[in-house]
């Protein structure tokens, strides 16, 4: 039936170029394996110092009067406004959350704007109003900043960068290196909302109900945990790369296996529908107001009780536990009870063909 059925050559696949290419593709910015590779090979190799090597959400720095937490992030998003948020809100809460999950109370932010020539004033005003409202809500002050305007096409409308300083609450979470066997993994709410909301807004996918970004500050519940003496082992906001990326980082740092239970992972119906339809995994979608937390088994009940008192973490759920390293860094128990590998996200989730 086939015309090329002449032995071995029939079943070969034409070789393809499999080097990285000489240019950076968007996949390197999506928070998964390739982002980590970029950071490891290009940044850590040059700037590696004890603080940077931690690769935490914020660096914890010594000063004469104690420790501070310091963090920075650049924000680009298309579209600038989406259900549940906008670039201004993201820029504030993103950095606030990086500080909060590091065990700090966020206090001061810088704000840098790179604006594309031709941006409409009303859009800028709307974004800045949103920054102000978010800063008020998160109880931080914008204390320094910068503005640049670049020629049309040099950036996509507007890019924001915020850096933040926070005061450390002691004791701070040890972080992923301190994770221990049997620690329990908790997520602070339904996952994937931000990624799904931005995807739908960007691609004008008309789903009903429309997913809404979870974009929100996480300081209050984390401070409350601290006040109750329930210092988690590690906390991380599950932004780019989603919950799966966090679990992979933790597994790598602790040399343990994160085992999660598929049925326990909270996913809203509006996100599930989109994922089922487009072949995406909610575990790989970005969140902007949801963290993953690991805590000793003895503190789980109280931790959930405290989180349950705050709207932003009211739907927290146990998703898994740390086991000795076995078949893979991260595994997931599916409905039939089989434990399979959960791969680390690599590049942006691309919708499938059919």
């Amino acid at each position: 039936m086939t015309d090329h059925n002449n032995g071995e050559t029939w079943f070969t696949c034409p070789i393809v170029s499999h080097d990285e290419g000489d240019r950076i593709t968007l996949a390197y910015g999506e928070g998964g394996r390739l982002s980590r590779k970029l950071i490891r090979e290009r940044l850590l190799s040059r700037f590696g110092n004890d603080h940077l090597r931690q690769l935490g959400d914020a660096a914890l720095l010594p000063t004469k009067s104690g420790q501070i937490a310091f963090s920075t992030d650049a924000y680009t998003v298309t579209p600038l406004f989406f259900p549940g948020g906008d670039i201004g809100k993201l820029a504030v809460f993103g950095t606030v959350n990086d500080l909060a999950v590091s065990g700090a109370i966020p206090r001061w932010l810088s704000l840098s704007l790179v604006i594309e020539e031709g941006l409409v004033w009303s859009v800028l005003d709307r974004i800045l109003d949103s920054v102000q409202a978010a800063a008020t809500l998160a109880n931080v002050s914008i204390v320094t900043g910068d503005t640049k305007v670049v020629p049309r096409g040099a950036v996509d409308q507007i890019f924001l960068t915020t850096s933040g300083i926070g005061e450390i609450l002691l004791p701070a979470p040890v972080g992923p290196v301190g994770l221990q066997l049997d620690d329990v993994l908790i997520v602070s709410g339904p996952i994937g909302c931000h990624g799904a909301a931005v995807l739908c807004a960007r691609e004008q996918l008309d789903f009903d109900p429309t997913p809404t970004s979870d974009c929100a500050p996480l300081t209050t519940p984390l401070v409350a945990l601290h006040a109750a003496g329930l210092v988690p082992r590690a906390v991380r906001d599950a932004t780019r790369g989603g919950v799966a990326a966090v679990l992979h980082e933790w597994a790598d740092a602790s040399h343990l296996t994160c085992v999660i239970d598929d049925a326990s992972v909270p996913v809203g119906d509006e996100v599930r529908v989109i994922c089922e339809l487009l072949g995406l995994d909610p575990l790989n979608l970005a969140n902007e107001g949801t963290f993953v937390l690991a805590t000793p088994v003895g503190l789980v009940e109280q931790t959930l009780a405290v989180l349950g008192q705050h709207a932003v973490t009211a739907r927290s759920a146990i998703i898994g536990r740390l086991h000795p390293r076995r078949i893979a860094p991260v595994t997931i128990v599916r409905a039939i009870g089989r434990e399979v590998v959960l791969d680390e996200p690599s590049g942006s989730p691309l919708p499938r063909i059919c």
Partner: protein, 367 residues
């Protein structure tokens, strides 16, 4: 969530797993020909759970994987042409041709846009009349009707700046090609539920009769797959090959007449090259000559798609069920989703990617 949860019910799944184990008296070789099924089998751990009683092999069910590198090269070249925008489904972007992938091309300045439907590309063409829009139409009979519809829409709108670089493939001829191989091991097929929803499945009875092989039209959820496998094993054990439909909520013997008419009005059945396989007779769809103005090959004077035979990737052997992905010397070493050597490792529906993502990674090295 309706149409999902009832097909993932743990109690029912365990029950059907037990039944399947009881039915199988020997390790039958059953092939699926749909990337969605392949991924579902691995993602939910079904393949591993059934390993001792079924040899599940995964055929050429990923449309991205069987698109020749040369065709991707054509798409990349078009994307670099001035005043041309190449539009494509997302998972086509990462697949490398010989000169890199569309994602890499975009990073180097080519005009590539992701769309969710070919109709989106028609809308873009309507809005930007001074730019040529090419839709990269790949996929089985599941996506071909949508591409056909886009062509007809473009004609109705009188657009002169929209065309399709088509490489649509047909499943049934590939199944036949596999069965005709001298060393064929396949004893039963799960037919792809979504393809059958479009094309129908009555025509499969010819394969059943000719090759004395059971074919069961099957869906994608774990319970669908178990039910499909149970029916297939029943037929095998009884020694009575037959055609069955275990995806009755979607597939009908005659398929979707409207979609079939759409395809027929735009495409003709042709012999075209499949990556990893070679030419498959009547294995594809090419645009009818009266629609040449919407055929990117004609519009941009591209040569007919060819296929070279270089390289170490054994995707053809994988897709023919000769080897498991993990038996390929490149698997997990030179070939990973981040630096794929062959398309089955890069596409979200590819068999090698499924094995890399879900199978026991004993022999995988994560850098």
């Amino acid at each position: 969530m309706k149409f999902v949860d009832e097909y993932r019910d743990p109690t029912l799944l365990r029950q059907q797993l037990t039944l399947l184990r009881q039915l199988a008296t020997r390790r039958w070789v059953v092939m699926d020909v749909c990337g969605g099924q392949t991924h579902s089998l691995l993602r939910h751990g079904l393949e591993e759970a059934l390993d001792d009683c079924l040899d599940l092999v995964h055929g050429p069910g990923c449309p991205v994987c069987v698109t020749p590198a040369e065709v991707i090269d054509d798409a990349v070249a078009l994307a670099f042409r001035p005043n041309v925008v190449l539009t494509s489904f997302g998972d086509m972007l990462r697949v490398p041709g010989r000169s890199g992938s569309l994602l890499q091309a975009r990073a180097a300045g080519a005009n590539v846009r992701t769309v969710y439907s070919p109709a989106d590309a028609v809308c873009m063409a309507e809005k930007e009349p001074n730019v040529q829009f090419v839709f990269f139409g790949v996929g089985f009979e599941t996506t071909a009707p949508a591409t056909a519809l886009a062509v007809l829409q473009a004609r109705q709108l009188g657009l002169t700046n929209f065309s399709v670089l088509a490489h649509h493939v047909r499943v049934e001829p590939a199944m036949r090609a596999l069965l005709e191989l001298p060393d064929n091991r396949i004893q039963g097929f799960l037919a792809a539920g979504h393809v059958c929803t479009v094309t129908g499945f009555a025509h499969y009875s010819q394969l059943v009769d000719e090759f004395q092989i059971p074919i069961v039209v099957t869906g994608f959820e774990p319970l669908d797959l178990l039910n499909g496998l149970i029916e297939c094993v029943r037929l095998l054990e009884a020694g009575s090959p037959g055609l069955r439909n275990e995806y009755v909520r979607s597939a009908r013997p005659e398929g979707n007449p409207h979609a079939r008419r759409l395809m027929d009005s735009v495409y003709q059945v042709s012999t075209i090259p499949w990556r990893g396989f070679g030419l498959i007779r009547e294995g594809g769809l090419t645009m009818r000559s009266n629609l040449a103005e919407f055929d990117a090959r004609q519009q941009f004077e591209l040569a007919a798609s060819t296929l070279s035979n270089e390289g170490d990737c054994r995707s053809g052997d994988v897709m023919a069920g000769r080897i498991k992905p993990s038996e390929c010397p490149l698997f997990g070493k030179a070939c990973t989703p981040d630096s794929p050597v062959g398309a089955p490792m890069v596409s979200s529906e590819g068999t090698c990617a499924a094995y890399f993502r879900y199978a026991k990674p004993v022999e995988i090295c994560h850098d």
